[in-house]
């Protein structure tokens, strides 16, 4: 039960794009669950709910480095390339990314519809 208290949730993470919610128990770059991993962005983290292994954690999301929106790590909401970009910002600045990333962005533009993705990608 001691470990229970250690990882008790700090609050609810909610993605501002897809509304995914999950309780997080740490925010920062050095998740307390393990010694050997650092995160390259300020992340909202929870203990991995799918395993009993106490070392495991799950990164839920972080803020977009451009607009500051809180977004989940889901590929429909954001991408990470050195920094976190929410998908709307990434789309807007697609030209600044290397072609490999641009290709990905191009794929995501098309058919799938997301709650608050940017309009006008199709006419």
């Amino acid at each position: 039960m001691a470990c229970e208290a250690e990882h008790s949730p700090l609050g609810m993470f909610e993605c501002q794009l897809c509304a995914l919610t999950a309780p997080y128990s740490y925010v920062g770059q050095r998740p307390p669950y393990t010694q050997s991993i650092v995160l390259l962005e300020e992340s909202y983290v929870m203990k991995d709910p799918f395993t009993s292994d106490k070392d495991r954690f799950l990164i839920l999301g972080s803020r977009c480095s451009l607009c500051g929106r809180l977004v989940c790590v889901g590929p429909e909401c954001s991408l990470f390339y050195c920094r976190r970009f929410c998908l709307p910002c990434a789309q807007e600045n697609a030209a600044a990314f290397p072609p490999e990333v641009q290709q990905d962005l191009e794929k995501k533009k098309s058919p799938r519809k997301r709650p608050s993705s940017q309009h006008g990608s199709r006419t």
Binding site: M1, E4, H7, L20, T21, A22, P23, T34, Q35, S36, I37, V38, L39, L40, E41, S43, M46, K47, D48, P49, F50, T51, S52, D55, R56, L58, I59, L60, S62, L66, C72, V73, G74, L79, F80, Y81, C82, R84, N93, A95, A96, F97, P98, P99, E100, V101
Partner: protein, 1098 residues
């Protein structure tokens, strides 16, 4: 080039300091375990994210291999592209690196050992390889994150897609405004999993959610834990009979209705809960109905307690009205359209089909599906049948069809299958093949199988019905209700449009009752009434049930409890009654436990009581086979002793080498999980008896030396680890069924735990759990101390069982000895002509029940209705009478007739000289010798009083156990002598009393109240051989006098081998306050004393 080759395989220290990239790639063999080990040493430390030797570590290496293959393909396939393309200049993004690298997409980094640091663990590794490894590790971790996140997102999407999620706010809002809310939604709307989570998310705690079935508690707790992302925390827990995952942090607990009722029993206002969810109220289980009544009364006293009733969308107004028009939130189910096809069967007049179900209509449906629907179109078939025999009949035919067509896998589903065998219905059929699941009504509500497109509804259900007059359970076939028919139909439309074939006419459907008969109207209410009494809810007759039970059932139950001594004359709970109320078992079994611990036979009785409380461990296929292996363990004293032997042998095998037990069970034809259940139940009984001071507490385990303590600790740790691994792995993957899966489908144990011949690889999780829960050494000790070593022990043990079972006795038909083995019949008080269940030991060796050798009876016995005089008449005590095609006696013990009746009967009538006895107005015995009869009766009276007082003593002063111990030793001894008495007797079956000699109330020897033994009419002069008293006395008064005569030596009953020791002199039970009118004084007199006293005034 030649130099390095010779060095291949050596340690890295021998590597040339700066090999070229190509060279190194050539020589560095990642498959080499030695190489891998070096990296594992450096990166996978004990406290690292991935630990050496773990499953995770293996997964990493296979990921690593895949990645290497992929990269070498890419490297040869295309050239590195020049990344110097012109990009728009955006100031905020100006710092992005100009060249693309997939690593930039990974948002984490490893704090591994530094390859540059020559002294560190990675210092000796080639830097190129280190960076290769690091890169792979990063990708692996990233991959793991993506997978877990995708799983989380999918979980949430699925939750949001459930019909009930639209009603979340409405439910919470209604609950805020009302004390009781009814949530009505059909299976599949998600109410059972979602409502608890809505409460959790809304900040509720102290939530209890009741389920009618144990299995649902576990699976729901798991599911809700998973969905609410606290699977491995302790916010969500469950509590069932043997297991609890509940802790102080638990906010919501799933528990059985029975368990919640026990909480009410302890704390009537349920202070530990703030919200109660009562699920599946529409199923109208006995306990659920009772719980609703309890809650209805409790709510005014607990205005802060919220109650959510969850029901299918049937008859919701009943529940709403019962709770003062509580609001109903109706959630529509998510059902696809279902086509109903009525296929009434032509009446088949042949009598032979009455015995066995005709499978042809079912096979016709299979054929119709084969011809009408192409095999590429998926969709499985669920067939509802009334019972096991019907499943068996269709199984056979369906398997034959499956073999012919190659398009079906046939699987049975019913509650007596092991969990593992039941789980098979969730596996998937190979492409082009459909599952055909033959199920009882278990699949109507309790088990939900995805992918069902076709349903066949036989329209029948077999249910236990109860005849309160005969106290007889009958397994009878009924038409189902319209509600059930709709449930069954609905199973076809959960994943797409479906078809429901009803094997009855639409007019039949219209004639069905709208709802099933609630359980309270069709079962014995003994246990319920007992529980009601112990919860002091007042007179059961006036309890405000949602629908009251039949008055006759209540009266029968009350009478039964009085008969069993659980209630006294004023229907108040007796000490033994209140103990029985706390034992979660049948009253009969509970009594055995109490009686057994009173006579210091607790260990064997614990095992037997547990064995009689679980389903038969013998596999179906071997049950009626007299030659199968377990028959060697049969006891000719009766079936409970066979079970006892089986259990003890199993414990022996387990303590020998526990992994062997599974194989042993298979060989013997025994379903091992029943034995696990027995072990659990046995332990629970033991704890209950200890709690009530009837059994000395278990000795604390011997401390042992520190080494063995350490070893034990480590063993337990390993077991926990195994259990955890198993739980995490469970349900992760569905297997694909083999086409011939169904070959052994009929017997569950064959499938149990998969193929054991695979050997060490697979973990026997039952064994692991067993070892975690039980101290095997202790159990083995108990098992060996429970061995019945002596005849005496066996005799006493049988007495305990028989007394517990009385009046469930059957008398062998007098003509049995001249009948074939298979034609042996028996008569119970209410039922003539019962037969032995085929599993019964006496079914194969009925001769042990015959009073004499068959040849001796031949001449005389067949002429006369009357049995010969014999001291060897026996009765069968049975645990249950089950009526299926015939009335079957199940679980029988043979006991000596005369002594049993003398000791157990509620009333005993005699004629004047006590040569004829009628027990409970049912069985009549003629005794050969009047004088010894009187002596036997005298001993009977004394023993009964002694036994009662020993019991009362134990129960009332259980804490002062030692005191009662001496009394018990004496009692045991006397009981044994009594049992050894050889008084020839013969049955007088159903013969009227001779004219003028009908038993009058005056001669009621053991009237319930023990009140008046005083009678004028049968008195004759008699001289006491001890005190010389000479008075006219009835035989009963003689007995009474002899029992109290201060000068009388304590004789053993006639025929006993040795003289009984002087028992403790006690105040006679026959003493009554007596007021003499002549001398105006008050006395405490036995009837004899009264006579003697009166003589003074003559």
């Amino acid at each position: 080039m030649s130099l390095p080759r010779t060095r291949e395989g050596r340690g890295p220290r021998d590597q040339p300091p700066t090999p070229s990239w190509e060279e190194a790639r050539e020589r560095w063999n990642w498959h080499h375990p030695e190489k891998r080990r070096l990296f594992e040493d450096a990166f996978f430390q004990a406290e690292g994210y991935i630990r050496r030797g773990s499953e995770e570590c293996q997964k990493f290496w296979s990921f690593f291999e895949r990645m290497q293959r992929f990269q070498s393909l890419r490297a040869t396939g295309k050239q590195e592209e020049e990344a110097g393309r012109l990009r728009h200049c955006i100031p905020a993004l100006a710092d992005l690196p100009p060249t693309y690298d997939p690593r930039y997409r990974i948002n984490l980094s490893i704090l591994g050992p530094d390859a540059q640091d020559a002294r560190g663990p990675a210092g000796s590794l080639p830097p190129e390889r280190v960076s290769e490894f690091r890169g792979a590790l990063l990708h692996y971790l990233d991959f793991g994150q993506k997978q877990a996140f995708a799983r989380l997102a999918r979980l949430q999407r699925e939750r949001a897609a459930l019909p009930i999620s639209q009603y979340r706010d409405r439910i919470l809002q209604t609950l805020k405004e009302h004390q009781v809310v009814v949530v009505a939604g059909d299976t599949g709307c998600g109410k059972s999993t979602q409502v608890p989570q809505y409460l959790l998310a809304a900040g509720f705690s102290h939530v209890a959610c009741t389920q009618p079935r144990r299995i649902a508690c576990i699976s729901l707790a798991k599911r809700v834990g998973l969905e609410s992302l606290s699977q491995y925390g302790s916010q969500v827990g469950y509590q069932i009979r043997f297991e609890s995952t509940r802790s102080a942090a638990t906010k919501i607990v799933f528990l059985t209705v029975g368990l919640l009722l026990r909480h009410v029993q302890r704390e009537p206002t349920l202070p530990q809960y703030r919200v109660l969810i009562v699920d599946e109220v529409h199923e109208r289980h006995l306990h659920n109905d009772f719980l609703l009544g309890v809650l209805q009364r409790l709510l005014p006293r607990r205005p802060d307690l919220k109650v959510i009733l969850m029901s299918a969308t049937v008859n919701t107004s009943l529940f709403s009205a019962y709770f003062g028009q509580a609001p109903v939130v109706q959630v529509p189910g998510r059902l696809f359209p279902i086509t109903v096809v009525y296929q009434p069967q032509e009446a088949e007049p042949t009598a032979s089909t009455l015995e066995k179900l005709d499978p042809r209509p079912f096979i016709r449906v299979l054929e119709a599906i084969d011809s009408k629907y192409p095999p590429e179109e998926r969709g499985d078939l669920l067939v509802f049948l009334s019972g096991l025999a019907e499943i068996g009949a269709v199984l056979e035919a369906a398997q034959a069809h499956a073999r012919r067509s190659g398009r079906w896998v046939v699987l049975p589903l019913h509650s007596t299958l092991s969990v593992a065998a039941q789980d098979k219905v969730f596996d998937v059929a190979p492409p082009g093949v459909r599952k055909c699941i033959l199920s009882t009504n278990i699949a109507e509500t309790s088990v939900t199988i995805d992918g069902i497109r076709f349903v066949v509804d036989s329209g029948k259900v077999k249910e236990m019905s109860y005849d309160p007059q005969a106290k007889l359970q009958r397994l009878q076939e009924f038409w189902i209700s319209q509600a059930s028919a709709e449930q069954r139909k609905g199973r076809a439309g959960r994943t797409g449009p479906g078809v429901c074939f009803r094997l009855y006419a639409e007019s039949d459907y219209d004639a069905f009752a709208p709802y099933p008969v609630p359980e309270i109207r069709r079962v014995a209410l003994d246990a319920l009434v007992l529980q009601m009494k112990s919860m002091s809810v007042g007179d059961p007759r006036t309890f405000p049930f949602i629908e009251p039970p039949p008055a006759a059932s209540l009266e029968t139950a009350i009478l039964y409890l009085r008969d069993q001594g659980a209630l006294d004359g004023s229907e108040a709970l007796t000490p033994i009654g209140s103990l029985l109320a706390q034992l979660p078992v049948d009253i009969v079994i509970g009594k055995m436990l109490v009686l057994g611990s009173v006579l210091h036979l607790a260990e064997p009785v614990l095992t037997i009581a547990a064995a009689l409380s679980v389903q038969s461990p013998f596999t179906r296929s071997t049950r009626s086979n007299p030659k199968c292996a377990w028959r060697a363990l049969e006891s000719d004293h009766g079936d409970p002793f066979t079970l006892f032997n089986v259990f003890n042998n199993w414990v022996q095998v387990k303590s020998d080498r526990s992994t062997k037990s599974r194989r042993w069970c298979r060989r013997e034809g025994i379903e091992e999980h029943r034995l696990y259940e027995m072990a659990n139940l046995r332990r629970q009984f033991k704890e209950l008896l200890e709690d009530h001071g009837l059994l000395a507490g278990t000795q604390a385990p011997k401390p042992g030396d520190s080494y063995s303590r350490l070893r034990q600790h480590r063993e337990r740790q390993e077991l926990y680890q195994l259990k955890r691994q198993h739980e995490e792995g469970a349900g992760r993957r569905r297997k694909v069924l083999r086409l011939q899966e169904d070959q052994d489908g009929g017997s569950s144990d064959e499938d149990w735990g998969g193929d054991t011949s695979q050997g060490a690889g697979d973990v026997d999780i039952q064994d692991v759990k067993f070892k975690l829960r039980h101290d095997l050494e202790q159990l083995q000790e108990a098992a060996s101390s429970a061995q019945v070593r002596t005849r005496d022990q066996m005799t006493l043990l049988k007495l305990v069982l028989a007394r517990g079972l009385y009046p469930q006795f059957a008398i062998p038909d007098p003509f049995n000895s001249s009948r074939k083995d298979s034609d042996q019949i028996f008569h119970t008080q209410a039922k003539q002509g019962a037969v032995l269940h085929p599993t019964c030991v006496f079914a194969n060796s009925p001769e042990v029940l015959h009073p004499q050798e068959p040849e001796a009876t031949e001449g005389k016995g067949s002429q006369d209705n009357r049995d010969p005089m014999s001291s060897k008449h026996q009765l069968l005590a049975f645990v249950s009478l089950l009526e299926t095609s015939k009335p079957y006696l199940v679980n029988c013990v043979r006991v000596p007739a005369l002594q049993s009746l003398l000791l157990f009967s509620r009333s005993l009538d005699t004629n004047g000289d006590c040569s004829r006895l009628v027990a409970d107005g049912w069985l009549e015995l003629q005794l050969a010798d009047g004088e010894s009869a009187v002596r036997l009766l005298a001993a009977t009276l004394r023993l009964r009083a002694q036994w009662e007082s020993a019991m009362d003593g134990q129960l009332a002063q259980a804490r002062r156990r030692r005191r009662a111990a001496e009394e018990v030793v004496a009692l045991s001894k006397e009981l044994l002598q009594f049992m050894a008495s050889k008084v020839p007797a013969s049955w007088v079956p159903a013969a009227p009393w001779p004219e003028g000699q009908e038993p009058s109330p005056d001669t009621a020897l053991l009237a319930q109240s023990n009140a008046d033994l005083y009678s004028d009419c049968l008195r004759s002069f008699w001289t006491c051989p001890h005190c010389e008293l000479h008075v006219p006395l009835t035989p009963l008064e003689r007995i009474a006098h002899e029992n109290t005569c201060p000068q009388a030596p304590r004789d053993a009953p006639p025929g006993a081998e040795e003289a009984a020791p002087e028992p403790l002199r006690k105040v006679s039970d026959l003493q009554r306050p007596y007021h003499c009118k002549a001398c105006q004084k008050d006395f405490l007199f036995t009837p004899t004393d009264v006579l003697r006293h009166q003589r003074q005034h003559v």
